[in-house]
């Protein structure tokens, strides 16, 4: 049963929905939604994570570590990285044991992510039927380029409609994984206006309304469909869905690949992505980034890292306007005084179209700070509480 759902939408308006920011990808979107689903104190109850997306950034491995660090979960948690869309997410919900976090992340437009904790109580989802068919009206090549067949009626008639007819479900209470017009054709009543059409759409649908017992929901991936029945139970929903606004115009100056040291990346990883500090053994003060010299260590000699607060206010800032090769400009750098512990962090800002001023409050959120020589470099960015009006 689904106990809680967390949803996250990037604030940037795109052509067909929200657009991921330049510092967002499937991992950061998944973390944003996943943290909401887990809540503040329930992180430790999850023993398994399933991430469904069609835009997994590190296909050769490494997503899981960034994901669990961002979620604040132990490194031993089982993570399933699954390629898929709405039907795959629904299948994952059906198959997951208690204490699983299922996350759907859509980094392409329309972008968004939603996550659900499968637990002992809440909204029950019961399997009804499934069919796998092929009608690849959209495909993606090895370099990530899309190929669209561009025949919406074919997709509707020979895709979802044909599959549902074969399953004996001509009309549905809720449908996810298709656009608004197609959803109307497939739904018995007014379709839910879902912000995404990919892996996260099912979870947005489950979070979107109270369902009467026996309601039928279908998740569609082109011509493949999974159908479930809902029991009308309650699910707690936490949303991070700020109003859409135009993305600020950015200029990318061509440049050489930004160098990366994977040794340095590896040394920093646990503190940098886990948002943790070392403790000075003499004074007890926290040091961030961690300072190995004089730090409190465990019996094995490893520096002990402690969690940092994720809220703070801007101590100082500067917006870089000049072209920087390989980076999109303008960008803003801030030093954030974290609440109540005398620790400051240097970060870029995110989720704001305008510069934030000294004293502005906000939170630290996982973002893809840069892509360095092809490697996503994750870290924390400062997200002001309010969009600043220039």
């Amino acid at each position: 049963m689904i106990t809680t759902i967390g949803t996250y939408l990037p604030p940037w308006a795109g052509r067909t929905g929200r657009r991921a920011g330049p510092d967002e990808d499937a991992v950061t979107l998944a973390v944003a939604a996943g943290r909401l689903a887990l809540g503040a104190a329930t992180g430790q109850v999850v023993g398994r994570v399933v991430l469904i997306s069609r835009e997994l950034p590190l296909l050769e491995g490494g997503n899981s570590a960034a994901l669990t660090a961002g979620l604040g979960l132990p490194r031993g948690v089982r993570v399933v990285e699954q390629l898929g869309g709405a039907a795959a997410t629904l299948d994952a919900l059906l198959e997951s044991p208690v204490a699983t976090l299922v996350i759907g992340a859509d980094a392409g437009e329309p972008a968004g992510a939603a996550a659900a904790v499968v637990g002992a109580g809440g909204l029950d989802v019961r399997y009804v039927s499934r069919i796998n068919r092929s009608l690849p009206v959209r495909s993606r090549d090895r370099a990530g380029g899309f190929h669209d067949y561009e025949d919406p009626r074919l997709l509707r008639d020979r895709g979802a409609l044909a599959s549902l007819a074969e399953l004996g479900h001509p009309k549905l209470d809720v449908v996810a994984g298709v656009g608004g017009r197609e959803a109307g054709d497939l739904s018995s009543g007014s379709p839910l206006d879902l912000p995404t059409v990919g892996a996260s759409s099912v979870l947005f649908a489950l979070a979107g309304a109270a369902f009467s017992p026996g309601a039928v929901l279908a998740a569609v991936d082109q011509a493949s469909v999974t159908v479930v029945e809902l029991d009308g139970g309650h699910v707690a929903v936490r949303r991070d869905e700020r109003a859409a606004r135009p993305a600020p115009p950015l200029t990318l100056t061509p440049g050489p690949p930004i160098p990366v040291s994977l040794s340095a990346y590896d040394r920093a990883f646990r503190a940098k992505l886990g948002w943790r500090a070392s403790t000075d053994a003499d004074t007890g003060e926290l040091r961030f980034p961690p300072r190995p010299h004089g730090a409190v260590r465990d019996a094995a000699g490893e520096v002990v890292l402690v969690d940092l607060p994720r809220r703070g206010e801007v101590y100082t800032s500067s917006t870089v306007n000049v072209p920087v090769p390989g980076k999109a400009t303008p960008y803003q750098l801030v030093i954030v005084e974290l609440d109540g512990i005398g620790v400051r962090a240097l970060a870029s800002t995110t989720g704001t179209a305008a510069a934030v001023a000294i004293g502005a409050p906000g939170e630290m959120v996982l973002r893809r700070i840069e892509i360095r020589s092809g490697i996503p470099d994750y870290g924390y960015a400062f997200r002001p509480d309010q969009e600043i009006t220039v």
Partner: protein
């Protein structure tokens, strides 16, 4: 420790020297330095050299100096200490002469920023000062590095962007007569404030240009001074201060503790107080950094530096003229050469030979703050042996 003095000082013009490499600039600065020695000096007199250079733009620095200047029979030590390199090269040479190891040594500094493509320069130089995992990917370019300090300083002090602009205007005016300066034109406060923003609060005219150049000093022991000149400039004090490297670890960004530490060492060694300084070359890579440095060097009380600017005290003709050469802002800033060139200017000031002369100057200082604002060097020079 033996006293030592500067008896020769010379430098190339600071500019975008696309037509000159390190192997051209070093001999040029050395030749001018030797020519400036009143009673004459030859390469054969030099017993050791300290070479300040940040970037190895033309290959292995010590070898390039020895080879290009035909100094093959002496030891050459390369010094790299971020933007404090030049004054730190002098500091090391002073200790070598003071110890009695050498009697006549060369201090030379050089860099060529305009040697690689504009697209690659940034990441090359950033790699020398940024933490590779935490800071490097953020794009903490040099202006932003200092802007984070100055933005907070402006927040806490009465100083404003107008005061910063007044500093830029002053230093451009000072550079007008300096044949070695890169930017020899006047600007107005309005022009500074109206210029495109590089990294706020710095507009284009708040920032130093990118420069190539070299500068050299001949440093000798007190018992050899008479052989070279009757008007030596004594190195009365040297200091080098450090601070936490990462901004995140700095408690108060409205001050540069590295400068405070370097100045304390140098002033103590010289036995002077800040109010005895007649002329100063202060690290003004960005206009607001000069203002903050007035306080760290002891020229002004905390958050009172703006008064010096308003009063015109730091203009030539004022109470404590700062950057009569034009400073980094207008003279230019090839980092390895910068501190040495500051000393070239102070030597000329104290000998009454400067292009923009401070009347009656007898004691001057040179100051650098650099890297991620984590290192500073201060040198105290005087026409009086003390």
């Amino acid at each position: 420790m033996r006293r030592c003095a500067i008896v020769g000082a010379g430098m190339t013009r600071f500019a975008e020297h696309f037509d000159k490499g390190m192997k051209d600039l070093l001999p040029e600065a050395l030749d001018e330095c030797l020519r400036s020695v009143d009673k004459g000096a030859a390469k054969a007199d030099i017993q050791a050299a300290w070479f300040g250079q940040l970037q190895t733009s033309d290959g292995f620095p010590s070898g390039v100096l020895a080879d290009s200047c035909d100094l093959l029979d002496i030891p050459v030590t390369r010094v790299e200490n971020a933007c404090a390199t030049g004054n730190d090269a002098l500091r090391n040479a002073v200790f070598a002469v003071g110890s009695g190891a050498f009697d006549v040594v060369l201090v030379i500094g050089a860099d060529k920023i305009r040697e690689s493509s504009a697209r690659t320069t940034f990441w090359e130089w950033a790699g020398m000062t940024r933490d590779m995992a935490w800071d490097y990917p953020l794009g903490l370019i040099a202006p932003a590095n200092f802007a984070l300090h100055v933005q907070r300083y402006l927040h806490e002090s009465p100083a404003t962007r107008e005061h910063m602009a007044m500093v830029a205007v002053k230093n451009h005016r000072h550079a007008l007569n300096n044949p070695k300066a890169q930017l020899r034109f006047e600007i107005s406060v309005e022009k500074v404030l109206g210029a495109p923003i590089v990294a706020d609060p710095f507009g284009l005219y708040d920032c130093t240009p990118q420069s190539d150049g070299a500068a050299a000093l001949l440093v000798v022991a007190e018992d050899r001074v008479d052989r070279f000149t009757d008007t030596p400039v004594w190195v009365r004090g040297v200091g080098l201060g450090l601070d936490r490297v990462m901004h995140q670890h700095k408690r108060d960004m409205t001050t540069f503790p590295a400068t405070v530490r370097a100045a304390r060492q140098a002033f103590t060694m010289a036995g002077i107080t800040p109010d005895q300084v007649d002329v100063a070359e202060v690290h003004d890579c960005f206009s607001g950094v000069e203002i903050m440095s007035y306080e760290d060097l002891g020229f002004a009380d905390r958050f009172q530096a703006y008064r010096l600017v308003e009063e015109g005290a730091t203009s030539v003709g004022g109470r404590i003229p700062v950057n009569p050469s034009g400073g980094l802002k207008a003279k230019g800033h090839p980092p390895g050469a910068t501190g040495v060139a500051q000393c070239v200017e102070i030597v000329e000031q104290l000998r009454g030979e400067a292009a923009t002369q401070v009347d009656g100057a007898r004691l001057g200082i040179a100051h650098n703050i650099g890297g991620p604002t984590a290192v500073s060097a201060v040198s105290v020079l005087s026409i009086d042996k003390g």
